[in-house]
């Protein structure tokens, strides 16, 4: 599968969830949609360690992220799931003293390899943050920002903004106030605007760092619906504290935990188990996963 093919061919197979977007996605369609086979990785961690200064935050993570799938990273606080997420588009470069060892393969090329420009990486692997962070600009300018700075060849910016907002299921709510400040929107709308802003630059992969943790349940539900719709065009990786959220929307789930060093007390994140979401939640193979899922720990 080739990314240019996909963009040329935007009409995608209709997933059941897409046909009935208002109903909460159930486990059934997921089983229909995702085969038990290994995912075709768009993005893959191979033996990744992340260090901050001398301290190892996450150790030895190998994880494939399947094409047009939603992969959830779950685990207790301090297990390194956000750290791994930030290493997937080199946002960790912005942290003083952060170092990534191992490889993060994107379409087969290491994004930490020589000659790779982190700016290009981030253009193709977008990120949505924990707290909605729209720019202090108009709604229109928020969406147009990415295409403008990356020098995208755009025929009509108005059309692009409209298309993008429609895809982010925000158009109907904001079409009459495109020139107004994004700060006038509700928290949930702001977060959907941030998602719109991200997909405006046509990335392959969208990373989401607990995108609903600052939102109320109704706004959360709308974002979840949106993610399920977007899955047809994008590969999504989401970090979440909310296990139900992972169970509702993710095709596959990776469970992380923290190993505590007996002598120093340092916590190092490790990947415990990665599998189909149904397997993780119904029949985990590791007892630590089971303890976490059933609430005995974390």
């Amino acid at each position: 599968m080739n990314p240019t093919d996909r963009t040329l061919e935007p009409s995608v197979k209709e997933a059941p969830a897409h046909a009935a977007p208002t109903t909460a996605p159930s486990a059934r369609w997921r089983e229909e949609r995702v085969t038990k086979d290994a995912p075709t990785p768009v993005l893959e961690c191979v033996d990744v360690d992340v260090r901050y200064g001398g301290f190892v935050a996450v150790r030895d993570v190998s994880l494939p992220f399947g094409h047009n799938e939603i992969t959830a990273l779950i685990g207790p606080s301090g297990c390194g799931k956000s750290t791994i997420l930030r290493s997937l588009n080199r946002m960790n470069d912005l942290v003083d003293g952060a170092r990534v060892d191992g490889k993060v393969q994107y379409w087969g090329q290491d994004i930490y390899g020589p000659g790779v420009d982190p700016i290009e990486v981030r253009r193709r692997i977008g990120m949505v943050f924990q707290k909605p962070n729209p720019f202090p600009k108009s709604i229109y300018d928020n969406v147009a920002y990415g295409p403008r700075v990356t020098g995208m060849d755009v025929d009509s910016m108005d059309d692009l903004v409209e298309q993008t907002l429609r895809r982010a299921a925000l158009w109907d709510e904001v079409k009459d106030k495109l020139k107004q400040s994004a700060y006038g929107l509700s928290g949930g709308q702001q977060q959907r605007l941030c998602i719109a802003r991200t997909i405006a630059v046509e990335p392959d992969v969208i990373l989401m760092d607990e995108p609903c943790s600052a939102l109320d349940p109704i706004a959360t539900l709308r974002i979840e619906e949106l993610m399920v719709e977007l899955r047809d065009r994008y590969t999504i990786v989401i970090v979440t504290h909310n296990m139900q959220q992972a169970a509702r929307i993710a095709d596959r789930t990776a469970f992380f935990t923290a190993d505590v060093d007996e002598t120093s007390g340092d916590r190092t994140g490790v990947l415990v188990e990665f599998d189909l979401t149904s397997k993780i939640f119904e029949n985990p193979s590791d007892s630590r996963t089971e303890d976490y899922i059933t609430g005995r720990f974390g």
Binding site: L94, R124, M127, K131, P136, T198
Partner: protein, 302 residues
């Protein structure tokens, strides 16, 4: 606290009165009055200064001050060249100091490696420069112009260089603070879309920091406008009987003119000094008030 059980009042009431009496014992009251007085003295000084200058100079605050050239006859003297000179010098100072200061602040706050020894040295150096006596900057300007072989140092560009160097650290420090107040999430949001560091600074961080930068810059320029000491060293205390008309033109400024009139023992010149002081204080207080209004009104609470 244990006494509450022995009284008939409920513990709640007892605690309440206890708290009030503790705040109202004589020592606390004296302390509070002393604090009040401290603040009052500062405000009273400002008020007295304005009123006493007004009494001394209001009679001479007329059109002659704006239209006439300095003269040995106080009735005919005015501050026209000084007012124009101040405008020339401050305009040039702003052009020199603001872009340089913002550029330096952007580098230090957005791009420089905080852990490098050189950058830490630069930081301490800027803090120190901000606290160096202003008259030293006059000596620097004299040395600099001497190096260029300029014989007549009392020219607009010379004064502007001295004042620009003087306020540069202030502009840098306040711009850095304004940039620091912009949340990291905004920068990350921009970078995560594939914007470069410079695009992020130019399109997101700087626009968001504009209110803070304007506040700091206006305050810095008002300081330059009221400053006289460095210009004394350039020889700005001269009898200027022409309108300054360029960067190489001779000049005097309002603070220098006031200093000159203050030095004159004739009472009429003192009156002129007071009138010019009123004008200068009015302009500077307006600039300060503007800076404070911008800070309070437009600075977003993130």
């Amino acid at each position: 606290m244990t006494t509450t059980t022995t009284t008939t009042t409920t513990p709640h009431q007892r605690l309440a009165t206890d708290g009030r009496s503790r705040e109202r014992n004589p020592r606390s009251v004296i302390f509070l009055v002393a604090l009040w007085l401290s603040l009052f003295i500062a405000l009273l000084t400002l008020l007295t200064l304005i009123v006493s200058t007004f009494i001394d100079g209001a009679g001479r605050l007329d059109s002659r001050l704006f239209t006439e050239f300095p003269s040995s006859r106080p009735q005919q003297a005015g501050a026209r060249p000084a007012i124009l000179g101040s405008l020339w010098v401050i305009g040039t100072t702003a052009v020199l100091a603001i872009p340089l200061g913002i550029a330096a602040a952007v580098h230090l706050e957005e791009f420089a490696d905080r852990h490098s020894r050189f950058n830490r040295f630069v930081e301490v150096n800027i803090q120190n420069l901000a606290a160096i006596p202003s008259i030293i900057y006059g000596m620097l300007a004299v040395g600099f112009l001497g190096l260029l072989g300029v014989a007549n140092k009392n020219i607009v560009i010379g004064g502007a260089v001295a004042l620009a160097l003087l306020i540069l650290p202030v502009v840098i420090i306040s711009t850095r603070e304004a940039l620091r107040a912009v949340p990291r999430e905004l920068r990350q949001g921009s970078l995560a879309l594939g914007a470069t560091g410079l695009q992020t600074t130019w399109r997101i961080t700087l626009p968001a920091a504009i209110p803070g930068i304007s506040t700091g810059t206006i305050l810095a320029l008002s300081r330059a406008l009221g400053e006289a000491a460095p210009l004394l060293l350039l020889g700005a205390l001269v009898f200027v009987s022409f309108d300054p008309n360029g960067l190489l033109s001779g000049f005097t400024t309002m603070p220098i003119q006031i200093f000159g009139w203050t030095n004159n023992p004739q009472a009429e010149f003192r009156e002129l000094a007071a009138a010019a002081s009123l004008l200068l204080v009015g302009i500077l207080l307006a600039m300060n008030a503007l800076a404070i209004v911008i800070r309070n009104r437009y600075q977003r609470r993130w």
